[in-house]
Amino acid sequence: MKKRFIAMVLAFVMVLALGACTSETPANDPGTETPEATGGMVEGGEITVGLYNDLDASLDPHMSSSSAGTREILFNIFEGLVKPNSDGELVPAIAESYSVNDSADQYTFKLRQGVKFHNGKDVTADDVVWSLSRAAGLETGEPLVGDVANIAAVTKTDDTTIVIDLKKPDTEFLAHITTAIIPEGIDPLTEVVGTGPFKYVSRVIQSEIVLEKFDEYWGEPAHLDKVTLKIIENPETLVMSLRSGAVDMAVRLNANQIKTLTNLKVLEGSSNIVQAIYLNNAVKPFDDVRVRQALCYALDKHEIIDLSSDGYGSPVGSSMFPAFGKYFMPELTDYYTKDLDKARELLTEAGYPDGFEFTITVPSTMQTHVDVAQTIVELLRPIGVTAKVDQVEWATWYSDAYQNRQFEATVIGMDAHGVAASDMLARFQSTNAKNFINFNSPEYDATYTAAISTTDDAEQTRLFKECETILAEEAANVYIQDGASFTAMSTNLEGMEFYPLYVLDLSTIYRTE
């Protein structure tokens, strides 16, 4: 199968360390085995993959509320005009090639011929126009997908050509056009139809989702015939299911979970998230920068990583994770070093000499975040700050903390939808709809706006880094780590590809003899 890597890949988005996510494996790590090729590839077969969190209520790929865990599964079902590959490069999918005008506000896409939807219909230019218009909210005025909110108009110029006009110039736009293309006129709430290597078969809420190989896939077809995604919310039960062979594979396990998985292949990668205690900058006492900085001084991220995950995980100091090689700033990691006196001093200045109480809201099924939250509670005690952990259902976390911003603090990971720096930084603009922490810095807004407007690559990188620095200085959140993420799979499975994004690509996985 020939893959057509067309020169549509924008160099400045692409400078992502190749394989960065697997390179952190300590050489003498007992829990990690080097994958070795055993036996030959067998086409077909079925596997069961354990997920610790149920997918979102809606599998509508344009729903703004998709969690990273849902998106990484939908990645196998839906495709956009372009899609990221495991090197973090954007490769053509439904589009075959593209061109952009000089002012970077008009993109023209040439569609690939012979791409079929899972319902057997051909993908037409009308489907693309309809999908993108829906995602961008061109009719309703309310974009469903923030990434494509910049689209002003989508027009079909002929049966295979689409022209997209942007409201503002955006040189990173290609990274945002991974938005799923779905058949015109369907109800995505009830019909899950895409063009990806796997098609959706069935779902039982809180129990399982079944995917099957899509035989008419335009690209490299999936190796497995059938994948059952089994929801096992209790972390220990998930581990036991792996041990017992009830599930063949699970991703995003933490350091504690893999300790007993001796009969399986364990691969270490990074989560490609920025895990932090996200602080609601609009509520007392976190509206005071001194209080936020005090927390930064009180919490040693290395200590947190040691206590909660045996040292697995890469510390980060701002809203950028290491896989973004070009934008990641290692120097910010230790911007604050543990200094309890300094922390107490700052609290006294801010008017909290005796500390204060606050609640950390955490989704209960996300063990890694729960563990980190517990560690934080303990590490804040010496400065008189009393934290409580409120474990809530994921849907409640999403609607209360994320959407309605009703929270004080939360431990969560933020991932990037695409491979653009703006994915990690846009949300901290004061007026951004995703700015759930209510961060408000005119300086940041100005720097960010300057960054996305410039077409000079070096200048843009400098400005994005400036943004990261502001986040660290202002202690917008207490940044902790890009958590280690382990994948466990039975020894007769091969082909797991790590992405520098929050993605689980099931199509590359195959059985061996």
Binding site: N234, E236, T260, E303, L307, S308, D310, S364, A373, V389
Partner: protein
Amino acid sequence: MKQYLKDKNFRAGLLITGIMLCVILIGLLWTPYDPNAMSGSEKLLKPSAAHLFGTDNFGRDIFSRVIQGAGATFLIAAAAVAIGLVIGLIIGGLTGYYGGVLDEILMRISDTILAFPSILLALVMIAILGKGKYNIIIALGILFIPSFARIVRSEVAKQKNTDYVRNARLMGASNMRILFLHIMPNIVPVLLSSVAIGFNNAVLSEASMSYLGVGVQPPDPSLGRLLSEAQGYLFQAPWYAICTGLAIILLILGFGLLSEGMGGE
């Protein structure tokens, strides 16, 4: 009390509950380690002389945590039983003494409530009240009202026709005085057994609710919460779950035996 001491069940129950309460009381003042202190170098240690029950995934001393958790569970149970008892006494006393339509209605309602699995009702109450330590106490307290009210009512109804009550009435004592000063002290022995059963149920309910994640929230301790944390390390540290579970069993067993020794169930 003396007559109870002859009963084997009562003696066993007294011994178990006594030991547990002593440990809990000492635990309020002193535990071998700070129950919340984490240590990166002492994670998931096996039980040893230094750590009687071993350590958990954060290197915390499980023995200290179990003592602290047992104390919290006991206090929650005590508060819930107290709420149920006080309100049950008032409702049961009044309905038993006056009888009538209200009595009939309240007893029908309490019959219906008693027929339900308490965990289900507790979950509904939590849905209404929200999670957390105090809401658990209120929810369980309310759930216990019917059973106490029922016992008090039937005892009061029995006592109100006895000679001493008639005498008191002839002496001109008010109804309230008769009810609370004359009748109530006489039903205390009968109530003791129900109080023990109440504790038994409260410990089990707290453990279940917190295990399910709708009860006590971290960092507040409780045996149920410890058990749900321990489940995550069943393979690496089975002693964590077993030690915590044994503490729950001992508490429940102790109160169960006490109640039985006093002529309950």
